[in-house]
Symmetry: C3
């Protein structure tokens, strides 16, 4: 058994979760943030049998996109005290970071007695 | 050492955390959501020595319940254009999904010098 | 490859993330809570090559502090029905709890085609 932890961009998460659920996987969604721009992203927990890992990674790859953002750095101050207008810098964000962890055990505990 | 990651229903989390804490375990609580109904749930991180895993799973089992919910699917549209009233569908939710991960290392870092 | 999961106090998280980012690490930040006082803390996910684990733990140690808090327990009720004033209890909070998990695989998926 494996636990897959995937960190994906927020705007990709909805479609990705839908695709994973449609393929029969249970997904837990956690709000997170990260990356160079400290943007909101989403951390997903997905239980997987070993043979499911590659199909799951394929679904993740198909739903997560790298996007180009333009960021204006803080204007540097010249020695004369004048400001130079900042040049927007191109930054690639997105894609997905995926950790595949070996689980010693995965259990679905479902006691059904009423409380 | 193990890291136990337990995804439980929100309404079970409070009692469960209390029981784990009373048994001497440190629990980290993360808000999450998931499952068929995309309901809010809670993801817990619990550090455990190997011999503590089974007692912890026992506590989790004792505090997490499966509940029956009735969900009304979106009404299907008949070919005539009329709506059929939706039949509520019975769905089992709850219980707990537990991942037991082997930790290469668990450290409690506690530098005590004032900042 | 390793996945490092670090649970740190909220007031230490900002500086720690800055230091980890400056050292070239990618950090995912998740809001969490835990500990004796159920205070808000932060759970960080950090991908690491094996040789990076010790330098990362060093950075975590340098930025996470144990602090002393004084907590007033609920006043006990004497047999006579009178309240005794509660004695504030000293509690150590903070530091960091760090899990180092072996990752079977870490992938950075970055498809660059526009959607
Ligand atoms: Ni799709
Ligand atoms: Ni109980
Ligand atoms: Ni620093």
């Amino acid at each position: 058994m494996k636990l897959i932890i995937a960190v994906v961009q927020r705007q990709d998460a909805g479609d990705l979760i839908e695709a994973l659920t449609a393929a029969g996987h249970r997904v837990t969604r956690i709000s997170s943030e990260g990356g160079f721009l400290r943007e909101g992203n989403v951390t997903l927990l997905i239980a997987a049998e070993d043979y499911q890992v590659d199909p799951i990674l394929k679904i993740v790859r198909e739903h997560c996109y790298t996007r180009t953002r333009y960021v204006s750095p803080l204007p540097p101050v010249a020695e004369s005290g004048e400001f130079y207008p900042p040049t927007p810098v191109e930054v690639q964000v997105g894609g997905a970071t995926v950790f595949v962890l070996r689980a010693a055990d995965v259990r679905r505990l479902t006691p059904s007695e009423p409380r």
